[in-house]
Amino acid sequence: MQARPNLTGWLMVSPLAIVLAVFLVLPIILIGVVSFWTATEFSIIPAFSWENYDFLFGSPVTYSVFLNTFKYAIITWALTFSIGFTIAYYLAFHIRTQTWQIALFLLCTIPFWTSNIIRMISWIPFLGRNGIANSALISWGVVDEPLDWLLFSDFAVILAFVHLYTLFMVVPIFNTMMRIDKSLIEAARDAGASGRQILWNVILPLTKSGIMIGTIFVVTLVMGDFITVRFMSGSQSANVGRLISNDIALLQYPSASATAIVLLATVLITIAILLRFVDIRKEL
């Protein structure tokens, strides 16, 4: 057989390893190191100091921002999951021909290939004080005054998140659902299960891995976001990503690094927990 599988393997994987070493591992190490440095407005001072972490953990704002980050993640997760699961379920179990399934699935994925920023700003003519939504509501007589909370609010942030990321739920859930043997559904029906019972007792448990993969995507995307929150809240709300990007904008690299390290740890722990429920390698 192959003389030295290790050597061939290493050779072939070396470009990948080099890219990850230079653009992932080194940067993370550097962020870790820099998080213990201090800074002036224009330069970084490489001297060990706990100052950044002291400031970070000493500020009540940090805690509220982390809380806010989790709030966004959880609400967005709940919504994207409900919508994503429903859509995937519809496509996988209610659409009968494969041609239609593929066509409708593609229809769902097309926006995913277009610019996130454009998709985000597309909401502005919709939600503003004089936007389409408010004009419509007023002309229908639902409200007298334009609703302020449609734009520049947590509502707007979460709406944009759901708009951007529901696809990340639809795709993996749809994939796992399509792999469910249709005869399992028939077997359940044979056993007298109602549609709802089938959903709860058969489809949901068998879709777990897809849900987990979707969850990993949505949660990490939301937790790492900084631009959607800025755009859609009119800079009024913050999550950890914004904390970091604000620091970066103001050249507070050490402080940004400290926040980044805490964020990274949070994300990795969250993912590690989620990965306990699914073996990604098997699910591919």
Binding site: Q2, P5, N6, T8, G9, W10, L11, M12, V13, L16, L20, F23, L24, V25, L26, P27, I28, L30, I31, V34, T86, I87, Y90, H94, C108, I110, P111, W113, T114, S115, N116, I117, I118, I121, S122, I124, P125, F126, G131, I132, S135, H163, G195, I216, T220, M223, G224, F226, I227, F231, G241, I244, I248, Y253, A260, L264, V267, L268, I271, L284
Partner: protein
């Protein structure tokens, strides 16, 4: 046909609403980009015109849309080629279960889940601390690879998980060298998946914002330019640009799908009985 359960209609309505939600805003700006010359960013439309599209092709007060557009294309192609090559090599390597594959796998997952801004920050720091100049084609390129490679690799893992090893054994049995096996058997069989990886590589790069933010250097890529425009442009020209990039993205998908379809059809035609008078 079989009768439909009631839930089907409820879910169809839900799906339709979801489509409206998904496409509504894009369509709205699509419409607004045809705003009349005197119109603004919101309704009502003041006439209908292609003014803003024409405006887009003229020089803007600030910035360089077409320069950034061409940079984004070049970068997208660089990332695409690299992603396909490195993913295939990585995918092949991971089948041999070399030592260290476990750690590397977790690195790939980390690259996938790490907040983009950390890559931007880290790569920016790395370059500044080592005295290198950030540039979209070096640091920007590398930072984007940390996002496209995990996708490419996950696709390759999925492909190779399902790849029947007996194809390779058969090739070896028939005297093919490892390289010939790859060239004449493995690559052609996984070609459709490679088109998918290429599509991912290109569009992820073409649309990437966060990872390029601090790593692009002096020259903007298109998403950075668009971002800049959202803070610098106050006319529907922004929507015209949005509409055009969306159409461009769609055209890219179209191109890839067509390549895949043509490939399929050519094969099918080669094998069909049409016009051969067989049987």
């Amino acid at each position: 046909m079989e009768p439909r359960p009631k839930s089907f209609y409820v879910l169809t309505a839900f799906f339709a609403l979801f489509m409206l939600f998904l496409y509504g805003p894009t369509i709205t700006i699509g419409i607004l980009s045809f705003q009349g010359e005197g119109g603004g960013l919101t309704f009502p439309m003041r006439g209908v015109s292609t003014y803003w599209f024409r405006d887009l092709f003229q020089q803007q007060a600030v910035g360089d849309i077409w320069g950034s557009f061409s940079r984004s294309i070049v970068l997208g192609l660089m990332v695409m080629v690299t992603t396909v090559t490195v993913s295939v090599m990585g995918g092949l390597a991971f089948r041999t279960r070399f030592k260290g594959s476990g750690i590397l796998f977790y690195l790939i997952i980390t690259a996938l889940v790490i907040p983009s801004i950390l890559i931007s920050l880290g790569v920016g720091l790395l370059f500044s601390q080592t005295g290198l100049t950030v540039h979209w084609a070096t640091s920007g390129f590398g930072a984007q690879l940390t996002w496209t490679l995990p996708f490419g690799l996950l696709i390759m893992f999925a492909v190779f998980n399902r790849f029947d090893k007996s194809y390779e054994e058969a090739a070896r049995d028939l005297g093919a060298s490892p390289w010939q096996t790859l060239r004449h058997v493995v690559l052609p069989i996984i070609a459709p998946a490679l088109i998918g990886v290429a599509l991912f590589g290109f569009t992820l790069s073409y649309d990437e914002f966060a990872r390029t933010l601090l790593t692009a250097g002096s020259y903007n890529t298109l998403p950075l330019e668009i971002y800049g425009m959202t803070t610098n442009v106050t006319s529907p020209v922004l929507y015209a640009l949005g509409t055009l990039t969306t159409l461009f993205s769609l055209a890219i998908i179209g191109v890839f799908l067509t390549i895949a379809l043509i490939g399929n059809r050519r094969r099918a035609r080669a094998g069909s009985d049409a016009g051969k008078g067989v049987l």
